[in-house]
Symmetry: C2
Subunit: 289 residues, 2 copies
């Protein structure tokens, strides 16, 4: 079954209002006067992580991508559950876990271990407490809003090429930083927010689609790490910057680049430099085969 068909089938099962988590967004759950945010991601060897990856980097990325999902909700981490496939380099995995937990003050709450996997996989669930209601999601972009993205795109791409060098790009690839403080600061100001995990253009497409709008982008404004390879920088994933929309002219507490404007949905979901993008093929990294 195609991933999109599978998600569509799940949506039919999920009538609970918290079930926005299907697909990519985190789940939002009201419990005892608190708003909780739950997210789950799995990394598979040779799909999401290279087979020669340092297990410490795998542990870091596993936790960071989940914390990044919390960041996009403006949530404060409460803790993590980690599912670990036992195998070579487990000591390094524990070391990476120690580092990422300390770096983001996120306690490890539990999890399980599994053995016997031909191709190893790791799962993580993060739980957080929303800092602002309503909790931002990818569905709230409104015509007239400005579209923004934090940071520079393409750092993870360059970092993969410079892997092991210890450069800033190498760290951006191996040790991505979930933008927790930025997400919490932005939450009261945005109409929609998500993290850029699969490439800026693909994630713009997805936010436009979820919001029932058209995103009109100006490629000259794209903040990229290597201008000569701008096209690649905005199609590569793993940057974990925050993509968000906010009313035009709004005063924002976080440095970000305005890359376009939200338009009413007509035929297209995405227009770049006046050119209509017909479908999402080639816009980014689609790892859900």
């Amino acid at each position: 079954m195609e991933e999109s068909a599978f998600i569509a089938a799940l949506r039919d099962l999920a009538t609970h209002p918290a079930a926005r988590g299907l697909g990519d967004d985190a789940a939002v759950l009201e419990v005892g006067g608190e708003t909780l945010v739950l997210t789950h991601d799995t990394l598979v060897q040779s799909v999401h992580v290279r087979t020669d990856e340092d297990p410490a980097d795998i542990a870091w990325k596993l936790v960071a991508v989940n914390l990044s999902d919390l960041a996009a909700k403006g949530a404060v981490p409460l803790g993590l559950l980690v599912s670990h496939a036992l195998g070579a380099g487990d000591e390094r995995f524990v070391e990476g876990l120690r580092e990422v937990l300390a770096a983001h003050d996120a306690p490890l709450l539990g999890g399980d271990t599994v053995g016997g996997m031909a191709k190893r996989a790791w799962g993580c669930t993060a739980i957080g407490r929303a800092s602002h209601a309503p909790v931002p999601d990818r569905r709230g972009a409104r015509p007239g809003d400005a579209i923004h993205v934090t940071g520079e795109l393409g750092r993870a791409m360059l970092g993969m090429e410079e892997r092991g060098s210890g450069s800033a790009n190498d760290l951006a690839y191996r040790r991505p930083t979930p933008l927790l403080a930025e997400g919490q600061a932005l939450a009261p100001h945005v109409s929609a927010m998500m993290d850029v995990s699969d490439g800026l253009l693909l994630d713009c497409w997805r936010m436009a689609e979820a919001s029932g709008t058209c995103f009109e982008l100006d490629s000259r404004s794209f903040p990229v790490a290597e201008p000569a390879r701008k096209d690649a920088c905005v199609r590569w994933g793993d940057d974990y910057q925050l993509l968000f929309t906010a009313p035009e002219g709004a005063s924002l507490p976080v440095l970000a680049t305005r890359i376009g404007v939200v338009r009413p949905k007509e035929a297209a979901l995405l227009v770049i430099d006046g050119e209509t993008i017909q479908n999402s093929d080639g816009l980014g990294y689609s790892h859900r085969a």
Copy 2:
């Protein structure tokens, strides 16, 4: 790394009081005046589920084993996150998921899908609300308490042999029932509780160890589905009955069989019919290779 060594290394990382979830127990987290219970389990093809298993049964078991962990905490399910490895029979997986969610009134909140797995794996996180404080765990057995187990052991073992027959045992194997109502009813009465996932004897060993006590069992009292194969019935996993301790003579709201008594810890963790068990090898199913 051995699973036990890995868990020990994780314990060093997990200083948060909710981190009792490391190893097998669920995590317990106080948020906004509520006590939340979080559990995560992964099923791996040909390790935890047969390669020829109906994906509908895999979905059922995936959710049921997590709900069973909530049951042992006396928790009311709030929702589930499911991580699904795409592949053959996805329609059946969705169908099984539909059935298990409906049977236990547990909403699907979110999750993710992964592709490209040589050997498929599925993960599930369940979140629940504790119905009673303190939340029972495996560490609370006290000398003098009676040891009880619900139901009959060995049904899943017989069910695997009768697989596909549609018999009660077949259903016990393919479609285990998490004892949610029983766990909630028992929570105020027990000193320790866990679900029997890896065999009665092994789980008695684990509860005795976690509680710092010795469990003295009388094998004549073991409630088994096939008396002629009692030894196998109490070593086989997948029954998802509740094992608990309670003060001797306590009035219990759920039918259960008294199988022994808790003693102070001396040399042994487990004594059966007066015979000391020296180590946990062969006591049950240890799937965490």
